[in-house]
Symmetry: D2
Subunit: 377 residues, 4 copies
């Protein structure tokens, strides 16, 4: 446990020196924000707890441990105002708690947490405890919480049945959340994840619309753990077939969680449509959303901060449906890039029973893109 | 055909001298508006075309004809501004066209039309033609219409396969639409309908909230064609079992379309919840939503008239979710009363092959309510 | 903790000497099974862990404790075969985990657990641990679990933020699960619940169809924590208005979870429709599904036990849609009775800060029913 | 009208000499059936009515006419047995009638018709009339029809407000339906459609699984009318940017209807998932599902022909969810190819007001693919 604690305290500055997909010459459409991250949407904060310890043969409850927790706070730690939100399931073999109330209320009230499949419960209760500690019961003593916690499965590399995520790891991710650059790859909930049979994990990207289109930002963060090598497409090129070495299971396996943030004034009806567009971004990179996949997406808008005050009637603004296309396209584009960023940032990892999942080899990727005249020089 | 035309020109002032459920001493909760009708929501207009002609043996294409069309215009004929809207299906054995766009846009753009099952198409195209005639293509020549047309089946009394509803009947219902008292019973789309094995048809009711609750109006209009006698409950009393004579098919048959209007500033997410509450009103009157039933409901809000202007961003207002309970309860109550009103207003009708469906006998109803100490004296 | 342990070991035989709603003369339609419980569906097992300790002022983490866990196992502890299932949300202010996969797979694979709002997480992970212990990873080491855990809020009587439910309490409910009579009222997840401002909790009922209708059983179990006194209707009578003493909050508050079991061979499409019918049962007893309510229902069929074997293609049977009405009606009826049974079985309870919620007074209930000529003598 | 009649009688053998996308060297994954069409699923029949007449300035009601109707019969004209089915909306700005009953019954009972936006009604009623003529009312005289009719908007080239589609055109498409090769491009409902700002229309493709995967066929037919040139990707290449001439509106406009057929024994729950995969195929070709798009998909299975007989309980078979991935991938692949086939088959068309929409130039396409090393030689 000391080892774990050490590990999760020390992960702060990792991975950031790795190039991102654009740095390698992968072509993408659209204009990213200055961070090319979900945090380009003002107010959004992200925090990770990364748990890496042990090696060798699996000993349930001991390790190896390759997992973690990622927290996304729509308005940061200082604001408790809910955001308009909606969700969508492309394939349901996964979990995102709290969604019935997101659906019916139209609001996301609290953070989005992402972890491994068998740690959903502990993170769920930890968020409740965190909110209890921060909040105060209202005057009638009536108080409850329906946290949003999502997951993907990391049991290939991680001792998932050892239940290594503890409440303090969820607290840590929440407390560490901040604006600015977002760590990608083998961090947070994404630590032990596998994407298209390369090492996966956390990836993010953003788009900023032109002033004429409203100047809004759209950011996407994914915990990327889906796909088979054969289907992977980068910039439209079937890269996976050209790098066939060291596959994992030669079939679609795993899941992807996507969080879409925007500062465009969208109402829940519109955010539902935005969440659905994540599917199209996944289509671009070759996903067919296999049976075992939990492809679950949530979208929120940081506009309209006054939407949940104590008044009986709230004033809001709403983007015209006629102007929403740029938001849709930005969502598709940022999803595509976030997935590639996750693979580019992740590093080769060895976990349970000395299984190794290789990182997407950067030079090989460049060679393949060049072969198809797609490399940005 | 001359006969039909005559008939539908002449139906204007019928049925209104019949008592309504309250007049008979049926107890209801809540405070209705002055009309106790969907038109208590300001701006809402309703028009009927009633087609009654012929008698005796069925001759397909000739008659007997017992059918019609009802038009509900959310903002009346003069305004083309769309309204926030949402829909819900309790049981799907029916049709309401135009709902995918209601769902995704959050708006209802045009009237809600209700007719018989086999006249959905003609009314659909008639609404398009009516909008084409009134509207003007935009500057790019791009123009389309996705009308909302719903139905229930009247083939027990009506020559439904004779396709007697014509475009002019839809136009007539639209042009006749007006505010004020709404005809109930054997009128409009409800002309040949059967409800709980009594003669059914159109029914309506409303509730007005207290000033403290916002003073909003909620109105419901139903085309009532569902149910079996055995299950009917009025004011909680199994009235149908006490009036077992002249049943029709001794099982649940048919459908119910409900339209809920309110001037409360609700967004589509909230209107979806309102539409779902119609189910609870139907539960109160004994429905179990049989397999053959098309129980489809649409709800709209006349607030926020500016929500579809040409601006990129619209300002609007939204009732807090914390204040929505009164709207929910009003919807349940008005649905319950609208169903009973439909049966109370309808009169015994003989149609195809001399089949007769009896009206709910008013005095018998009073006796039964009295027996259970539920009659309002 | 010793005290808690003692409590939950000792609750086995409680409450069963209390009369049920029928015993008091409340009239219900339809024919119940021999147990008038969800366990009339062969194979279904139910287990409760009841946690009651402490009294007086709230001390978070200490008590008073008035909570628990209820486990429903569709095929009992001995079978791991999944059941066809579907779910429905009448109002989403609550949680039922695992539903995206129920929806997309069409199967419920494991128990349904019900507890308090802030114990969803611990029970979620406990079910995973329980399945890990019982199961064995498949040959590829690939193994995951998406437990179904639902909740209602008991913080009026229970120290909900003390997080008193522990993994062993979930294990205990699972291990104690058995066929036969089901304890109702202040037991299991229902221990601290409030229903229509009377003491609520667990209630159950069943219906058995005639041989002609297939002879199927339909059972419903509810954790009943919704409603305001004013709206409560029993046998169609507004009983709550006639027993206005000792209300709790004079408004709708809380939630209801319903589990519907049947041995009729229904496919998920049909079970979705069955789950939706719970709404109509709630309509009969007066619910309007208030904003604060988490009204979430799951329905499963124990038929077709071979539906999840290793074969590529499975043989199944399916009830014709034309024959499903009796199942729908049975669901409505059993829901209605389960809700009333929960209130009839529950006993007056004093909890946090000496708040007391009174039981539905049996004699008063009989008097009111008699007044409206509804008492079965 | 004589002219129209002539036109629709004469269109039978057109377009078939045009190469298809594979013939041009466009690379696709997977193995198509012998026809590479939806009719590779045994039993499926397709018929078109193509209406082309007039030229020059728009005269509403006269022309120019560039429209039609396409009929897809799941089991051909000879069988009336319903098929298991489900539907999905990627973006709802369109119409597909009959879907509430598809959703709730799990069955598609009759053909799928596709036409232009303003002819939905006439085709709807025509299908009803066609079924009335063919069928016979049951013994109780109870009979109704809820046709499935979908549309896309052809008003750029066609006098859409002239309502040129008549009942006989729908009958003609139904009667002409047959197995075998399917005409593509400017035929049937697709006659006047525009896809990615090239001339669009009807396209189809299929995949056949290996014997090990069950040997099932999956076929897709699209009426393709969506997209902007800028986003179009063929074989992963942004072809539209390399052929920027003669664009239409420089933005996403229009819609796409997709029909997926398979002989794999899928239940409605599974078919819903299949329908959703069409989104991923559209993602591959660059769609972002713009606000104005009606992207609506229906999937059905021709297996289990006995699922709607008169028995109370039906025996059927179901593919294991564990084996469904090949069906998902085939759906994505066939969707991708069907869209490209629509554009490759369509020919340059001039319509209303002498507007011309160019066909995708075959040689230019080959050059662009070659530039990106994607041309199959």
């Amino acid at each position: 446990m000391a080892c774990l604690a050490l590990s999760f305290m020390a992960t702060a500055a990792a991975a950031q020196t790795r190039p991102r997909a654009r740095d390698l010459g992968v072509p993408f459409d659209g204009t990213p924000g200055s961070l090319n991250a979900i945090t380009d949407v003002k107010g959004v904060e992200v925090g990770h707890t990364t748990l890496i310890s042990g090696e060798g043969a699996l000993e349930v409850g001991v390790g190896p441990v390759r997992t973690g927790v990622t927290a996304i706070l729509p308005r940061g730690k200082e604001s408790e105002a809910a955001v308009f939100a909606a969700w969508f399931t492309l394939n349901g073999n996964g979990e995102m708690t709290g969604t019935t109330w997101v659906q019916d209320s139209g609001f996301l009230d609290g953070p989005v947490m992402i972890t491994n499949t068998h740690s959903v419960g502990v993170v769920h209760d930890a968020v409740t405890a965190w909110k209890v500690k921060r909040g105060k019961p209202d005057m009638e003593g009536y108080w409850w919480s329906l946290p949003v916690v999502a997951e993907t499965w990391d049991g290939y590399l991680n001792d998932i049945n050892g239940f290594h995520v503890k409440p303090e790891h969820a607290f840590h991710a929440l407390e560490r959340a901040r604006p600015g650059a977002v760590e990608e790859g083998n961090v947070g909930g994404g630590t032990g994840m596998i994407c298209n049979e390369f090492k996966g994990g956390i990836g993010t990207s953003s788009r900023v619309l032109s002033v004429k289109e409203g100047g809004y930002a759209v950011g996407v963060l994914v915990q990327c753990n889906y796909g088979d090598r054969e289907q992977l497409r980068i910039a439209g090129v079937a890269v996976g077939r050209e790098i066939p070495e060291h596959t994992v299971w030669q079939r679609d396996q795993g899941s992807i969680i996507a969080v879409v943030a925007t500062d465009a004034p969208l109402i829940p009806t519109q955010l539902k449509r935005v969440a659905r567009r994540v599917s199209l971004g996944l289509g671009r990179v070759g996903s067919y959303a296999g049976n075992g996949s939990g492809d679950i997406f949530i979208a929120f808008s940081t506009a309209n901060p006054g939407a949940t005050g104590p008044e009986a009637v709230h004033a809001f603004s709403m983007l015209s449906n006629e102007k929403i296309n740029s938001i849709f396209l930005a969502t598709v584009q940022a999803t595509e890039e976030a997935v590639i960023n996750a693979m580019v940032a992740a590093e080769t990892m060895t976990g349970v029973d000395n299984r190794t999942v290789i990182a997407l080899p950067h030079e090989r990727l460049r060679e393949v893109l060049k072969k198809y005249n797609r490399l940005v020089q």
